[in-house]
């Protein structure tokens, strides 16, 4: 290349670099979010080797001990870091662990390990910039073994069998869920009494939280399964998942105990665009009490279902009947 053509090009490149650097510099001062580390009020209690993995891989976004490196503080990357820390703490914060009830703690830990196993956490872009935070296969095994050790497959105790007897008696005598004046979740979704007349999509035996489950599908869902049109699921498809206590006798026979809840996912990619295209709702006990403290309760559902985003946020692998 001749010297004549190189000079203007060089000039252009140099001035461009300066413009970019100048912009970057200005970016550092506008809209700068603050990441604070509030006090740790009740840190996660777990064996040392378990905690070490979580501290290394997760605490930057899921605790009040975020270690923001100097290179994380450069905007625009810093904006994403701040957003991740804010959202990360909202969904899971190991520094306020003791504020949760024991079953909630257990559920969160199973969720955490499942997010790692599915490759959803730690967030990919963060892992690339912070290679030391990768959770290795050995780490994952340590976490899984720890969780497996926390579940004991206990025999049904009298409190659980009594709970079933009381419910069963009422139900067998004709007590039903409300059919008019349907309970409504805070996001506007109504209880659907017809779930029990739908076809089965799958069953599931949850040893993490001692429950048995049946997933039902409405006609649109069942037709979609028949035709293998399940990714994405068609609008109008509805799942209903019922959970019962898991009652085990001395011979290892497990039956369903008291009815705990029914949960719905209603597909409508426009109406429910803000919650991954699905309307989520959960109704608890035979009274079908709507679950959730605020209208945004479904964020919790979406976040746990997110590792399934390539499967339209659905865990279930349908069994054709």
């Amino acid at each position: 290349m001749s010297a004549v053509s190189q000079t203007p090009l060089k000039k252009i490149i140099i001035s461009l670099v300066f413009v970019v650097l100048g912009c970057l510099l200005i970016l550092q001062f506008i809209n700068r979010p603050v990441i604070e580390n509030p006090p740790v009020t009740g840190d996660l209690q777990a064996p040392q080797e378990v905690k070490a993995i979580l501290k290394r891989a997760c605490y930057d976004c899921h605790s009040n001990e975020s270690n923001i490196r100097w290179y994380d503080k450069i905007a625009p990357a810093y904006w994403k870091v701040a957003e991740d820390v804010k959202k990360g703490r909202e969904g899971l914060n190991f520094s306020v662990w003791s504020a949760m009830a024991k079953p909630e703690q257990a559920a969160k830990l199973w969720e955490a390990v499942n997010q790692i196993q599915a490759g959803a956490m730690p967030i990919k872009s963060y892992q690339i910039v912070h290679p030391g935070t990768k959770v290795s296969a050995t780490d994952l095994l340590i976490l899984r073994n720890y969780l497996s050790g926390t579940v004991t497959s206990k025999l049904a105790d009298t409190s659980k069998t009594n709970a079933l007897d009381i419910q069963y008696d009422k139900w067998a005598k004709g007590a039903e869920a409300p059919k008019t004046n349907l309970p409504v979740a805070l996001n506007g979704i109504e209880f659907i009494p017809d779930y029990k007349n739908w076809q089965v999509v799958t069953t599931s035996d949850r040893f993490d939280n001692n429950s048995l489950r049946v997933v039902f599908g409405n006609d649109i869902a069942i037709k979609a399964i028949k035709k293998n049109h399940i990714n994405p699921w068609p609008n109008g498809a509805i799942f209903a998942k019922v959970a019962w206590d898991r009652l085990k006798d001395a011979n290892g026979n497990v039956k369903t105990g008291a009815f705990k809840q029914v949960e719905y996912m209603i597909k409508n990619d426009k109406k429910y665009a803000s919650t991954a295209g699905w309307g989520f709702a959960r109704f608890k006990t035979p009274k079908m009490l709507p679950y959730g403290k605020t209208r945004l309760f479904a964020t919790e559902c979406v976040n746990c279902h997110r590792p399934m985003k390539n499967n339209d946020f659905v865990f279930t692998m349908p069994v054709k009947h």
């Binding site: 196993q117 029990k196 799958t202 069953t203 009947h321």
Partner: protein
């Protein structure tokens, strides 16, 4: 500045673009599915109950028509016109959720149909289909025990 900051947005975009969409057929639980020509779903049965046998490592679901559900719920003797089915699978790990077991290989489908009988409240007809292809079992030993088991199960509470 580290080159990573220029690379970073590019990598994020790439990672987003590379999400692979699994084939829909792979999302079906094939080993647990019933052969299409068995036409089970055409019977239109409802779920009565679900159970697990930890020793056998199996899980079962019992289905029935409205009459079967009503007599089971009321605890009244068997009537003519009931249809019940029990499907049993080997359990397998749920690859999507560490903490769950789901149906694996299909093992048996047991069918019960009742009809009017001059002596008893109803005549009970029982068939047992075995294996992935659901071949009808000819040997009838153990049938009485199996029939009793299915009739004895309480339905799961579904208000």
């Amino acid at each position: 500045m580290k080159a990573i900051y220029i690379l970073f947005p590019v990598l994020v975009l790439l990672a987003a673009a590379c999400r692979e969409q699994p084939d829909e057929k792979q999302l079906i639980n094939k080993e647990a599915s019933l052969p299409e020509d068995f036409n089970f779903s055409k019977l239109g049965l409802k779920v009565l109950s679900s159970s697990v046998n930890e020793k056998q490592n199996t899980m079962s679901t019992i289905y029935g028509n409205d009459l079967a559900l009503n007599t089971a719920k009321a605890g009244t003797p068997v009537q003519a016109g009931e249809v019940l089915a029990m499907i049993t699978w080997k359990q397998k790990k749920d690859e999507h959720w560490f903490g769950a077991k789901i149906p694996g290989n299909l093992q048996t489908v047991e069918m019960i149909r009742t009809s009017p009988d001059a002596q008893k409240s109803a005549k009970v007809d029982y068939q047992r289909y075995e294996g992935k292809k659901l071949t009808l079992k000819q040997d009838t030993t153990g049938n009485d025990k199996n029939i009793r088991y299915i009739f004895e199960q309480h339905p799961s509470v579904m208000p």
